[in-house]
């Protein structure tokens, strides 16, 4: 009808979401170009919590970098601990006793549950429901108490060591964990009744925020985001490490690619993690939790090494370039949320603000891990 009216630039306005905004889970900023409430263009702006992890990796020893890995993604710190120690162990050729590997897997899965629980709560909070967040925190507190009993910290663990774990688990932990698994089995149906089946939530998630497998591949999305698009990719199964081959567990995959699919993937993962924990407790061998011969000062041979683990948000990779000294020459941390967020701009086009928030929440972002 009219050229002017069809030019979107004339009817749009820019809305700045963040850097302090309740939906961005921290300090992400998203520049939205809106036409009414429809998003014409979304541009995430990063770097508000850039903490120089990679620089710090270059000027401290291998062991001294451990605490940093717990602060990359503070919600599943142990996965990142795990990825880092695995990479260094691969580089330095350190073996790990089996008991330690089991403990690692158990605690990592426990940490994954706590991360997914927090995501569940925060996601429903994004969608306007406050109560499920606090129910999720209930469960999480029990879990944090368990982990605190082992690792001494509630959130930013620094528990793994090259060649093992810091200290052994005790019977209290085992009985507590069994109780927790039992409790979670009754709580999960409650979450499904309260949240998943809720018509309001279903209307907000179903058929909203599609991500195609091709989009995942082009942007390198991993973890629940990829699995919610029907990509059967999980580092634990695909590229087995630690003692994961010993466990029977399923990789939940939902082919639809909408927000609901990603939601269901994570809910199912909680269940699978419970299975792994149970099996781990059953199979837990006795023995030492530290390898005997771990050199005090690590000097991996020259070259570069890569190790990836399945963190709560996707594949976390560590690329370690060693020059033969006791500090890494270059330490690249490949964080899953970085790739997962990068597809947001394309996936959010044409959505309403409210739907974009449902989409962003379903990516499960932890900003410090993106900004590193």
């Amino acid at each position: 009808m009219n050229v002017l009216a069809q030019d979107p630039a004339l009817e749009t306005f820019v809305l700045n979401m963040g850097p302090q905004h309740p939906a961005t889970h921290g300090v992400l900023r998203v520049k939205l170009v809106l036409d009414g409430e429809y998003i014409v263009e979304a541009e995430p702006v990063l770097g508000y919590i850039h903490r120089m992890h990679e620089k710090m990796g270059e000027n401290r020893t291998f062991a001294q970098f451990m605490p940093n890995t717990g602060r990359l993604d503070y919600l599943s710190a142990l996965s990142y601990n795990h990825g880092y120690v695995c990479a260094v162990e691969r580089a330095a050729g350190i073996g790990v006793p089996e008991r330690a590997e089991y403990i690692r897997c158990i605690t990592v899965e426990l940490n994954r549950i706590s991360s997914h629980l927090l995501w569940l709560g925060a996601y429903v909070l994004d969608l306007g429901g406050f109560t499920p967040l606090l129910y999720a925190f209930d469960d999480r507190e029990i879990l944090l108490d368990l982990l605190e009993g082992v690792t001494g910290a509630r959130l930013t663990y620094c528990y793994f060591r090259f060649g093992g774990v810091y200290n052994d688990i005790d019977d209290d932990f085992v009985t507590g964990l069994k109780g927790f698994v039992k409790r979670m089995r009754t709580r999960l149906p409650m979450y499904h009744n309260l949240v998943t089946k809720n018509i309001i939530l279903r209307k907000r998630l179903e058929d909203i925020g599609f991500i195609t497998p091709e989009l995942c591949r082009k942007y390198g999305a991993t973890g629940p985001v990829a699995r919610g698009s029907g990509i059967d990719y999980d580092v634990r199964r695909h590229e087995p490490y630690s003692v994961y081959p010993e466990f029977k567990f399923d990789i939940p995959v939902y082919p639809k690619g909408d927000s609901m699919a990603r939601y269901l993937v994570r809910m199912d993962e909680i269940e699978q993690s419970l299975r792994i924990i149970e099996q781990g407790l059953d199979k837990l061998p006795s023995g030492p939790v530290m390898a005997e011969k771990v050199p005090k000062i690590l000097k991996p041979p020259k070259g570069d090494y890569y190790h990836a683990v399945e963190a709560a948000r996707g594949a976390f990779g560590v690329r370690l370039v060693s020059d033969g000294t006791n500090t890494p020459y270059r330490l690249k941390l490949r964080s899953p949320s970085f790739s997962n967020l990068s597809l947001f701009a394309e996936a959010a086009q044409g959505l309403l603000i409210a739907d974009a928030i449902a989409l962003m929440g379903s990516l499960d972002l932890v900003i410090p891990e993106i900004d590193r």
Binding site: A63, N68, R71, C158, N167, K197, R202
Partner: protein, 147 residues
């Protein structure tokens, strides 16, 4: 059309179920720990800031001033100083400061200590009005704890 009514019915049912769940919790007990009135016992492995261990035999610290903790600390928050004491093999500790505001509670110092002279304290509820209050003189703290 039947889909419309099924949706309506299912939706209403799901809403009622949700209300039922929250009502059950509402009449149930609260789980709040009323902090200043009630407290949690800290777990044995809880990591507060580090503290010097008192040697039950000598009644003083066990530190041998080897400086390992200072060297190992990723954030450089430990400063140790000691004097050579005649006759005894180990050095005597004169100063042990911990800048807790830089600490990341990684526990590397405790792990590396050859003399088991430091341990985690159970101070979990620190809060104060100045930043300097958290640069601890651990030797002094040890002495104060005696009294």
């Amino acid at each position: 059309m039947s889909g419309y009514f099924r949706d309506l019915l299912d939706g209403t049912k799901s809403l009622a179920v949700g209300l039922g769940i929250t009502f059950k919790y509402m009449v149930g007990p609260v789980i709040t720990l009323q902090y200043p009135h009630q407290t949690l016992p800290m777990q044995p492995r809880f990591r507060g800031h580090i503290d010097l261990v008192r040697d039950p035999e000598t009644g003083t610290d066990r530190c041998i001033v080897c400086g390992m903790c200072q060297k190992t600390c990723p954030s450089g928050c430990i400063t140790v100083a000691g004097d050579k004491v005649e006759g005894v093999k180990k050095k005597a500790l004169t100063l042990y400061t911990l800048d807790f505001t830089k600490c990341s509670l990684c526990g590397l110092c405790v792990e590396v200590c050859p003399a088991d002279a430091i341990t985690f304290s159970k101070d979990y509820n620190l809060a104060g009005r100045s930043r300097e209050a958290y640069v601890f003189d651990l030797k002094k703290r040890l002495e104060e704890r005696k009294g």
